[in-house]
């Protein structure tokens, strides 16, 4: 009875950590085990449709990394800075550059930046309440560093360059 109770407690813990905890003696996690069984047993026509991409679990681990970051933050004072500084501009550097110009209410994003969907979304959300326009009457633009033209550079960031055009 004691053995059964111990086994079910361990089985319970394994079901919770199925993506990361390896089964003793087998060397695979329960998730990898079910993947192996799937690979062997699934019909070819189903396997042709795809595989379990972006499996849940392993890549989503975070506590160790976060606790390590927290400890180093405490040591070098970054934790205090994070708690007390407005508009740090992380992870979008251009956001903090734009916020230094409160007169900018809206901005036009150049097509070469807008083409990069992921970057466009990050800018769109990151610089709010500054509104992002595709065209309009504002002189302020976000362009890539090679497309500044005859505009005056106001700020440079890794994602884009902020310019004022005549």
């Amino acid at each position: 009875m004691f053995l059964f109770r111990t086994l079910i407690v361990f089985a319970f813990l394994y079901t919770l950590r199925s993506g990361t905890a390896k089964l003793p003696g087998i060397g695979l996690t329960p998730q990898q085990l079910s993947d192996t069984v799937w690979e062997k047993s699934a019909p070819e026509q189903v396997k042709a449709l795809g595989h379990f991409t972006e499996r849940f679990g392993t890549p989503a681990e975070g506590y160790p990394k976060r606790i390590a970051t927290l400890l180093s933050d405490f040591r070098d004072g970054a934790w205090t800075r994070k708690l007390n500084t407005p508009f740090l501009g992380e992870p979008l550097e251009i956001a903090s550059a734009i916020r230094k110009f409160p007169e900018i209410k809206s901005i036009i994003v150049a097509p070469d930046i807008a083409e990069n969907g992921e970057l466009y979304q990050r800018i769109f959300e990151g610089i709010y309440p500054t509104l992002v326009l595709e065209q309009g009457s504002t002189n302020f633009r976000l362009v890539s560093s090679s497309n500044v033209g005859n505009c005056q550079i106001l700020a440079k960031a890794k994602e884009a360059t902020l310019v004022q055009c005549p």
């Binding site: 407690v9 019909p43 189903v46």
Partner: protein, 478 residues
């Protein structure tokens, strides 16, 4: 040191505000437990924001309600002295201390990373930013103009409101501070964990094991480090679901006791919060409630007579109470559904000819199997937990262990939710492979953890079986 103190004061201030306003809004003569008070406080926050429209006015209104909460606490204390039947709920200083320590540590961890990942950045904190800058939960009726439709504007606004309130309290927006809203959302769960893990009614020897199993289930499941701290809501939907299901189970099993009554109210408040976190939350809340009603009717010897007895015993006071709770629990969700419909925010992956898409996918060779495989295997917890659930159920039947019908509630709800997820992937108008790759793992968190919750009930039963039961509701009856 000053920053840590500032953070601590903010946390104490918000938790006290939520608890006291929760106490004021609950129509209970007894002092509510910490988890119930905090959860009711979260609901009060969103109701105040919806009614006053301005987040500063909402904070002021909630503070006024909290003042009334102080008065209610004082009168309930007096009532306890004169009426011994009104014993306070078992929220003690050790529980409170463990709760505050946990919430403080959790908050420190939250600030270690900026808001970065897609759902957090593009949905929850972006909506929060709009609320913070417009100072209005309705964004002056212009959500569609303030934001882009791709950010799922129709999602409920409880969490964005909390994040906006935190930024408002600090007086500025940056990419770290609003993350403290995750700690505020976590408050009722942490309080529930502390109350459940340290319950003194149970055998004292059981406390360390119960503490460990509950802690692992709530905070250490695969991916918890990411899904509970990054600003994604899927982890919180899962946690509120399992807490609500545990309360519903207690409410059904002990329906005549004070504990059962308290659990019933607590479950309803948690389900209301669930519906305010995310769309999936609303679906699982409806499923849990439907399964709970079905299980309750199933456990009654003569359901129709019981219903008649309840309706004949209804007094104006109970009617008033029922009307108040209906308004309190359903008001915010109905208000938001109407508002998002009026503002035209309801675009989703399921518009267009849904039935035709379902039929096409069902008749495409291999497609239903592939979708089913994703529903069951994509989140690694579901399949092993189902296998363990089978072993535990067979063991309970074989050894005539006392497993009650209500214990099956999370398992049944989980299976129903898996069917719903299957239908959703059949109905999607996005590329199904892309849709499943992006969401099947995290959507599977809720059913996965509900099965884990069923396994937890079974294991606690096996390890510490000391409960008395009704014979007609036991599976060992046969």
């Amino acid at each position: 040191m000053y920053s840590a103190l500032k953070l601590f004061i903010l946390l104490v201030g918000f938790t006290a505000l939520f608890y006291l306003s929760g106490v004021a809004t609950l129509r209970d003569e007894r002092r509510p437990t910490l988890s119930l008070g905090l959860a009711a406080g979260l609901l009060t926050a969103i109701i105040c924001a919806m009614l006053t429209t301005n987040i500063n006015a909402a904070l002021l209104a909630q503070t006024s309600i909290a003042m009334f909460g102080i008065y209610r606490l004082y009168t309930s204390r007096q009532g306890n002295r004169t009426n011994p039947a009104l014993q306070p709920n078992p929220s003690s200083w050790p529980q409170m201390t463990v709760f505050m320590v946990l919430i403080f540590i959790f908050s420190c961890i939250l600030i270690s990373d900026p808001i970065a990942d897609w759902d957090a950045r593009s949905i929850w904190f972006y909506h929060a930013k709009v609320i913070y800058y417009t100072k209005d939960i309705w964004a002056h009726g212009q959500w569609a103009e303030q934001a882009n439709i791709y950010t799922h504007l129709n999602y409920p606004k409880l969490f964005p409101l909390l994040a906006a309130q935190v930024a408002n309290a600090f007086g500025f927006w940056n990419e770290y501070i609003p993350k403290l809203a995750i700690a505020l959302l976590a408050c009722p769960i942490l309080a529930f964990f502390v109350e459940s893990a340290l319950k003194t009614q149970r055998n004292h020897r059981a406390i360390p094991v119960n503490f460990l199993l509950l802690f692992m289930m709530l905070f250490m499941f695969d991916g918890a480090g990411f899904y509970l701290t990054s600003g994604y809501m899927d982890g919180w939907v899962a946690l509120y679901s399992i807490c609500a299901s545990m309360m519903l189970t207690t409410a059904i099993q002990q329906h005549n006791s004070d504990d059962g009554r308290n659990s019933r109210i607590q479950a309803l408040v948690f389900l209301a919060i669930l519906s305010q976190i995310k769309q999936e939350g609303l679906i699982i809340a409806v499923i849990l409630l439907a399964v709970a009603i079905a299980v309750t009717l199933g456990t009654l010897a003569q359901p129709m007579q019981s219903i008649k007895r309840i309706s004949s015993g209804t007094t104006p006071k109970t009617l008033r109470s029922a009307a108040w709770y209906s308004l309190f629990l359903l008001g915010p969700v109905v208000a938001w559904l109407i508002a998002s419909h009026i503002q035209g925010l309801s675009l989703s992956h399921y518009s267009g000819n849904t039935l035709e898409r379902i039929t096409t996918k069902l008749t495409t060779s291999g497609q239903p199997t592939w979708i089913l495989a994703n529903v069951i295997f994509h989140n690694g917890m579901i399949f092993p937990s189902l296998a363990l659930a089978l072993v535990l159920t067979v063991n309970a039947a074989a050894t005539r262990k006392r497993l009650m019908t209500a214990d099956f509630l999370p398992l049944i709800a989980s299976l129903v939710f898996l069917v719903v997820i299957f239908l959703v992937y059949l109905a999607t108008n996005a590329d199904v492979n892309w849709h499943m790759a992006k969401s099947a793992g995290r959507v599977g968190l809720t059913p996965g953890l509900l099965i884990v919750c069923y396994n937890y009930h079974c294991i606690i039963n096996i390890l510490f079986a000391d409960r008395s039961i009704k014979p007609q509701s036991s599976i060992s009856q046969a």
